[in-house]
Point group: C2
Chain length 412, copies 2
Amino acid sequence: MVNHVYDPFRSDFESLDELADRISQVLECPVTIEDANHRLLAYSTHDERTDSARISTIIGRRVPEKVINQLWKQGTIPALLTTKEPIRVKEMNEIGLGHRVAISIWKQEEVLGFIWALEINKSLTEEDFSLLRKAAESAKNKLLQLQTRKNKNEERFQEFFWKLLTGHLYIQEEIMEHFHTLNIIPASSYVLLVFQFQQNVTSKEEQNISYLLKTNQHLKIMLYTIDCNQLILLVSTDNMQNTFKELTKFAHFFVFKMSERYNITNITPVFSSIYYDYSHLKKAYTETREILSIKNQFPNETKNIYTYQRLGIYRFFNILLQKRKSEDYENYALKKLGEYDQKHNSNLIETLDVYLNKDTNINDAAKVLNVHANTLNYRLKRIAEIGEIDFKDPNQKITLYIDLKLEKHLRM
Amino acid sequence: MVNHVYDPFRSDFESLDELADRISQVLECPVTIEDANHRLLAYSTHDERTDSARISTIIGRRVPEKVINQLWKQGTIPALLTTKEPIRVKEMNEIGLGHRVAISIWKQEEVLGFIWALEINKSLTEEDFSLLRKAAESAKNKLLQLQTRKNKNEERFQEFFWKLLTGHLYIQEEIMEHFHTLNIIPASSYVLLVFQFQQNVTSKEEQNISYLLKTNQHLKIMLYTIDCNQLILLVSTDNMQNTFKELTKFAHFFVFKMSERYNITNITPVFSSIYYDYSHLKKAYTETREILSIKNQFPNETKNIYTYQRLGIYRFFNILLQKRKSEDYENYALKKLGEYDQKHNSNLIETLDVYLNKDTNINDAAKVLNVHANTLNYRLKRIAEIGEIDFKDPNQKITLYIDLKLEKHLRM
DNA sequence: ACGACTTTTGGAGATTCTCACAAATACTCA
DNA sequence: TGAGTATTTGTGAGAATCTCCAAAAGTCGT
């Protein structure tokens, strides 16, 4: 039996593994220690009994994403991030999680990591909880040491990444040398992924982002950095069969999670083309900034576009707008249709717009407009008459499509 | 009988009508005198027998166009324009033309008009021909008087028109005043029609053009002028139901006739929008010059376009080209397809081009490409795969359409 | 020259689209 | 209000398109 005053974790341990073993020994249950991003730092080895969640954590050296997700949804992680008290987690068989108790490791107002104790042989008592608190206190110093080491490393990463982004590092061998030194395996193809935030990213948010990136298991992120309101990721695209689909999926995932977990909304994702040469990273960076610039100008129109290629007409929308503003051009067909709409308060313009945006598919457009296909047909005939349009002429249709978009934008 | 030496037309006549009557009296047949543009100047009245062509000429105060056309085709007018001798014309019942003899009236190397003698009561003899020569000589002076008067008038027309074109005349009442003074009825709506020639128009060509315009009966031309290599017409559009169709027809007619009759080719027609206010004539003129400028830049692409509205994407093709040249953009889909074409020497790009230009109509495009519709279908699927194109997305299709046109133009 | 692969062509059948017509309803102007 | 016009909806025939499948022809690398 353990005395209340005596602290079994006071002595200096060689390593976190040693501490994990000691905790395990004292509490008589398997123990794992994770950093704030749920990466495995240490685990006890004396006890062979464990659950499947712990096994995958140890094998993958990180907590599986679905487990993290579950712990978020069900409130454990949010609780751990707000209190210094141990939290008991009920068994969750669907993700292979047995009964366990967790406590967060704090340095001032910041969580450095977590200690998990599995309640396999016994249920932890109030006394055990008190011991856990002491264990967490003891782990803190070890984690801090790790963190300062990590921070120094982090700085070297940052410097390297910015040199690449700004084109200050362009000799192939030099770049590879740096990758090697930083222990990163450079992918043979990559894209640059940029998330633009509404406001500059605070250090608190930076932690959250970092957490989300570290816990994500979708993409191989070689390097990342934050610059004012932009999060910049260098992502490997090796062995990806459907690159842009995957990237889009990740972008949506990230945006969704940021909103769900941290209530940060209005994040604009964007990604460069695929590049093969790291000396082109500057170009990739310029490309993403160009996309962002266009997306910022036409947010509604380009809502679902993330790459330069897919910008389509919005690539040159700006110069068209400028030209339009500088001359007193008016699309004759749209003018006539507008006048007709005004006079008969109909909506031929809207009809035309939907029709063109639905790729001149009558059925689809009719559905959107909530009218019978024949009605749409009739309207299109009237539109062709009134606007003197030949719907068989792609040049005319394209002109209408573009002019409609320009007008819509000018009216806003 | 008439003496060879005696000239019955030597005395001074009060008017051309008097001369016509005298010729008619001497030759014993109906006589008409026309100017170089086949406008009726005078006709004999003593004889009541005549043919239907003469009747319509007198009624309309000009020779009907179909008669002129026939006389061109069949060689009479060209002959009259080269020789000072009388020419005999065979009966042409299909246009109501009886037997007749014509002679041209010359001043130096220029034809001022024609005298026509109908052989109704008798066939003209060699002696009569000699008389006709004398009659033509006698008519010359009268015609010259008319012409100087006409030239003076012409100058006033020119001055007025240029004032309108350059915007130096913009007060409604003043403009109407001028119209009235010049005895022109101002139409309530008008367009400006400009024909651009390859070279500057010579005074010889000017006569031909003038001839063609004066004899045309399709359009009401209020004013016209020639400036270097441009023929500028102010055309009434009153009572025209299908304005641009009519104008196009006339433009084709004019271009065709200039080529057929005078061997002048490569004439580019162009017309402004419809205007209602004569103070906007300057704007109309600017408009036509803008169209011509674009057509000169992209002659092949805009071959069949005559109005600003119909220019469509070519309105801003120039700025797109500039942008393209200044950046190193490459359409990913086209790049991929180009590479594929190169490697497999296929023609996916061409297929795509035809398909898009045929308004994505599979049957039409297949016909142009000389392949089975299923083949085209197959190719389109491959194109969508290789170029990662979604043919349901209008933005993507439009981008391809435009990028194809830009590339085609850049390659030339 | 062989086999693997791509491309072309043809046809049958299902599905979708288009078009003309008719009837019903809405709107307009005197 | 009532005739005349504009608009919407339904129906059905015919055209066009899509989906399969299969055979033939062409291409490429070895």
